[in-house]
């Protein structure tokens, strides 16, 4: 019994102290996600006519939160070198378009699900993973953000949803395409994809 009391005191001390130790990567994700939620909940932007303003605000937040170059490079992995500078720039642009076209709608359909920011772990001194969960009706979905320290800022370079890494998923696809096709052809496929999304 005594042991239990000591244990529970110890446990509560540890639990109460935990937030104080929350590091910068976790805070960064928290602040950014909360900013997104603020935009989504903003009553002034509720009407469908304001949808474009909402999207523009979200786009700004996306640029603050994500490192596009890191995201593109890692998705192409070894193949990044096969593209010349012009192609690389176009790739980053098209990749962004595809992600935005797909996920903007998903994010806008947010319905006040509870998000919890659990913890972070340092992968290396300049890379961290932040663990969050979103409570959806179909069940809890773990979403992890992988961040990298670039010029003093923590930026997201990969999102892991329900154990599936976005970057890894794209890398497999790009690898598959580039094992048979040229970079030019890949860009053409991406251009087509963007067009069909609109």
């Amino acid at each position: 019994m005594k042991k239990n009391i000591v244990l529970s005191i110890l446990l509560s001390v540890i639990l109460l102290c935990a937030p104080a130790y929350a590091g910068i990567p976790l805070e960064t994700v928290k602040i950014n996600v909360n900013k997104v939620l603020e935009v989504l909940r903003d009553p002034a932007l509720k009407s469908p006519a304001k949808q474009d303003i909402k999207k523009e605000k979200l786009r700004q937040l996306y640029f603050d939160m994500f490192d596009e170059l890191e995201l593109a490079k890692r998705s192409l992995s070894r193949n990044w070198k096969k593209l010349n500078a012009v192609q690389q720039n176009e790739f980053i642009h098209l990749f962004h378009q595809i992600l935005e076209n797909t996920y903007a709608e998903r994010i806008l359909s947010y319905q006040n699900e509870k998000i919890s920011f659990d913890k972070e772990s340092m992968l290396t001194p300049t890379q961290a993973e932040v663990y969050t969960r979103i409570n959806r009706p179909a069940g809890e979905v773990p979403i992890n953000y992988r961040l990298i320290l670039v010029n003093g800022n923590w930026k997201v370079y990969d999102v892991v949803i329900e154990n599936v890494s976005l970057v890894q998923n794209y890398r497999t696809q790009f690898n598959d395409i580039l094992s048979k096709q040229t970079p030019d052809k890949l860009l053409e496929i991406l251009r087509k994809k963007v067009k069909t999304q609109k």
Binding site: K73, R78, T102, Y103, S121, T124, Q127, L149, Q168, Q173
Partner: protein, 333 residues
């Protein structure tokens, strides 16, 4: 038509006796186990993170051993910069020349080149993928959307909880076969709490704060994986979707562990299972659309998502089960 349950077999009785004995121990201890469960929940979360870290660093070693070339080249690339030698392991966007290093650092988080699967019957799989895709958009989605409009979300979540509770034997037996005894006890406690006080499982009381007996992530395919059985090749079944020989065997086993399978006549069982799928789908309309909407090649995207998902499921369990000895030391870090 008469709905009836077939007479349970001997194995079922043995299982029930085991369950009775197991809960006999765990239920009276409930107030005490709450704090224990809290403790284990918090440590297991920490565990995942820590072991993720561990996996990264251990494979980092592996990478540097296997590929001696990128390491020295990257170091020489960055020594001229202000960045410290540690930064050479983690490429920043400035180190455009350190491409190989980027690969190495990136891959070590995904355990090598990330989990892959061979696909020798790709043409067949692609055809099956097309079939399932059409099945979703032409049949399942319209039905689920209609169903969505008839029943409020609360009801659909309760129905989902009911079926989840009913699938208890799958998680119970899997946890047991994985020698995950804490998981087995948690599942058993859950089953009884939800079945009795949660009105036959419609309310998931056990997952709520204060009780904190979360659903265990355990299935047979995962069990085989933990035993060391390889995943084999990729196979897409019509209706069932992405699988592998290992997971197919798992699904067959789970068929026998799922009480709904024993409903008679056979079409009652099929009907109930179909209803379950519709109910489940109604809660996640849009997920599949987003996945294939974002994909350049949806077939490859789903294959990769399947492999990553299954791989991580096994890895996380492995870390939970086999890292308990060192976990305490690492949580402090």
């Amino acid at each position: 038509m008469k709905l009836r349950l077939q007479r349970p077999s001997l194995g079922f009785y043995i299982l029930m006796i085991w369950v009775f004995l197991a809960t006999g121990f765990s239920v009276p201890l409930l107030p005490a186990t709450v704090s224990a469960a809290e403790l284990s929940a918090s440590t297991s979360l920490a565990d995942v993170a820590v072991t993720g870290n561990e996996a990264a660093s251990s494979s980092e070693v592996a990478v540097s051993q296997n590929e001696p070339n990128p390491e020295p080249s990257a170091v020489s690339d960055t020594t001229g910069d202000e960045s410290s030698p540690i930064d050479a392991d983690n490429p920043s966007i400035d180190d455009l020349e350190a491409e190989d290093e980027l690969d190495a650092a990136d891959e070590n988080q995904n355990n090598g080149n990330g989990p892959q699967i061979t696909d020798p019957i790709e043409p067949f799989n692609r055809a099956m993928y097309q079939f399932n895709d059409k099945l979703y958009f032409w049949v399942l989605k319209p039905v689920a959307t209609g169903y969505n409009k008839v029943l409020p979300k609360v009801v659909r979540v309760s129905v989902k909880n009911f079926f989840t509770n009913l699938a208890f034997p799958i998680r119970f037996v899997s946890s047991l076969l994985q020698a995950d005894f804490s998981g087995t006890a948690t599942e058993t406690g859950r089953f009884f709490i939800n079945s009795i006080w949660g009105i036959a499982g419609f309310i998931d009381l056990a997952s709520m704060e204060g009780v904190n007996l979360p659903k265990q992530d355990a299935d047979l395919g995962q069990t085989f994986g933990l035993w060391g059985v390889g995943q084999g090749f990729y196979i897409v079944w019509p209706f069932w979707g992405p699988s592998s020989p290992r997971d197919t065997f798992g699904s067959v086993g789970e068929y026998f562990l799922y009480p709904v399978s024993y409903l008679s006549p056979w079409y009652a069982s099929t009907g109930v299972k179909t209803y379950e799928i519709i109910n489940d789908t109604s809660l996640r309309i849009g997920d599949y659309e987003a996945l294939i909407g974002a994909a350049i090649d949806p077939y490859i995207a789903i294959r990769d998502a399947y492999v990553q998902y299954r791989h991580q499921k096994i890895e996380k369990k492995r870390q939970k089960l086999w890292s308990s000895g060192t976990e305490e030391k690492k949580t402090i870090q």
